[in-house]
């Protein structure tokens, strides 16, 4: 992998050496986190020991032994301004959850059409939830991680095109994103390693979505809708959904944030309609005291209608301390209640995580 990286950098240098005044910017982010489960039930019926699943898609799971690996990560962004409104950006992320194997998670071309519109194409993070596309950048939000019960979807990248909008309507700042793409994840980590325990290929085709974000003073609202076609292969065998090779998922999201100078309230309400409704929601409250920000959060996931569906919630309490101009220390306690049996995820758990998030 390192070889690949060197090759990539070399290729970039060769490519850009010939271009006059191509400006290359490096920036990055890193999180060093550690945590452990203090007590937990696990899922006896599936032989799962006490576990805290802090991040579903990456399978960042803490156990009763202290571990630094599940959520620690290092990201490097390289952005080259090719002049005439064109730029190319790549983001390489090495995660402890993947044994720090570095992979290119973002790679896209960006073309600025005018002050309002930017067209991008390539591989990007799927902007499903409010925090999805900057999930890896712990420094950018208050908690250790966006609430795990909400961020449960197995696909988090896509390949495609999108159009970003930034503008103003009266006193309101408006931003938006329209995207189209697909992702064919040959060995999906969450499904393969955690849920089905067999190699699972997860395909989301014809993803089509829109995001609209409005902001005025202390108020911000984000609305989103996305549809996709899901296909799946378990151990090479195509999964049939009610006899059909694919099924359609429809995602709806509403996030509202109130941000006063010290007090802030963050909320998210999401629904995925995929053979029934999967509802997620969260509310967090924090209070900035100079460099220290204590916060409380509650999040939940539940399937609607089924007698024994998937149902879990997390209550979190923590502190973010901006002890340095580019780094924040965080400590968080999470109390997870898993109320499902057949679809139990990791059982109840009480865990503690601490860490440092930086950007550079």
């Amino acid at each position: 992998m390192i070889k690949k990286l060197i090759c990539l950098i070399a290729v970039n240098c060769i490519l850009f050496a010939g271009v006059s005044r191509a400006e290359i910017n490096f920036s990055g982010f890193a999180s060093i986190n550690a945590g452990k489960v203090m007590s937990g039930t696990g899922v006896p019926q599936y032989g799962v020991p006490p576990t805290f699943l802090a991040d579903y898609p990456l399978v960042s799971a803490y156990s009763k032994d202290i571990s630094f690996k599940p959520e620690s990560l290092f990201g490097l962004q390289i952005s080259a301004d090719l002049m005439d409104n064109l730029s190319v950006t790549g983001q390489i992320v090495a995660r402890g959850a993947d044994d720090f194997d570095a992979t290119i998670e973002w790679a896209y071309l960006s073309y600025t059409l005018n002050d309002n519109w930017t067209i991008q194409a390539g591989k990007k993070r799927l902007p499903l939830f409010y925090y999805s596309d900057f999930y890896d950048v712990g420094y950018a939000y208050v908690w250790m991680r966006p609430p795990a019960d909400n961020y449960t979807w197995q696909i988090f990248n896509y390949n495609g095109v999108n159009a970003l909008y930034t503008g103003e309507i009266g006193d309101w700042s408006v931003s938006g994103n329209l995207y189209y793409g697909e992702e064919d994840d040959k060995d999906n980590k969450l499904l393969s390693e955690f849920f089905f325990l067999e190699p699972t290929r997860e395909i989301w085709r014809d993803m089509m979505g829109g995001v609209l974000q409005l902001n005025k003073d202390w108020f911000e609202v984000r609305l989103t809708h996305m549809t996709y076609k899901n296909e799946r292969f378990r151990s090479g065998e195509r999964t049939l959904f009610d006899g059909s090779e694919s099924r359609t998922g429809k995602f709806y999201g509403l996030a509202m944030n109130l941000d006063f100078e010290q007090l802030f309230i963050l909320t998210e309400l999401n629904r995925l309609d995929l053979d029934g409704d999967l509802d997620t929601s969260m509310v967090s409250v924090g209070y900035r005291l100079d460099t220290v920000t204590p916060y409380l959060s509650y999040s939940q996931f539940k399937t609607k209608g089924e007698a024994d569906g998937e149902k879990h919630n997390t209550t979190s309490i923590g502190i973010r301390w901006d002890f340095h101009s580019s780094a924040a220390f965080k400590i968080q306690f999470d109390d997870v209640k898993d109320e499902s049996f057949d679809l139990a995820v990791a059982g109840d758990s009480k865990s503690i995580t601490i860490g440092i998030d930086t950007v550079f």
């Binding site: 982010f29 896209y108 900057f134 970003l164 930034t166 100078e261 101009s325 950007v359």
Partner: protein
């Protein structure tokens, strides 16, 4: 107990007054746009890219450690340095924007703005010269 509390509060107030220099927001002398705190904020947060008259706006920031930047952040943007860094991190790493260009001192800001009608910046009020136009003191 109350005396101690009051003393601590007065001390804190003193310290914060001492550390806070007034900043003036400046533009090119030919710029005749009216500004308020909100329109300046939008330009420095990347939420607006044009002046109210429709002309292109280029905000110029000062280095993170400068006293003028610290005052500007709290008085005009109403945010701490860490909050602003978190805000820009979110935009930088999602390909949605990049922070204003930074220069290292008041003289450099004045020099740049005196030569470029699309720029807007801020300096310590003591550094203000006739080469630029002040559009607000904070």
């Amino acid at each position: 107990m109350n005396i101690i509390k009051n003393t601590v509060i007065s001390l804190l107030l003193l310290i914060s007054y001492a550390a806070k220099a007034d900043v003036v927001v400046i533009v090119h002398p030919s710029n005749s746009v009216d500004f308020d705190q909100s329109s300046i904020s939008k330009l420095f947060l990347g939420k607006a890219k044009k002046f109210n008259d429709g002309n292109q706006a280029v905000p110029i920031n000062q280095e993170e450690s400068s006293a003028a930047r610290v005052s500007f952040n709290s008085a005009v943007l109403s945010k701490s340095g860490s909050q602003l860094k978190a805000y820009w991190s979110k935009l930088i790493f999602t390909g949605k924007g990049s922070p204003p260009q930074e220069v290292s001192n008041d003289a450099e800001v004045i020099d740049l703005i005196s030569k470029n009608p699309s720029m807007i910046g801020y300096v310590d009020s003591a550094s203000l010269t006739d080469a630029v136009k002040s559009v607000g003191k904070f």
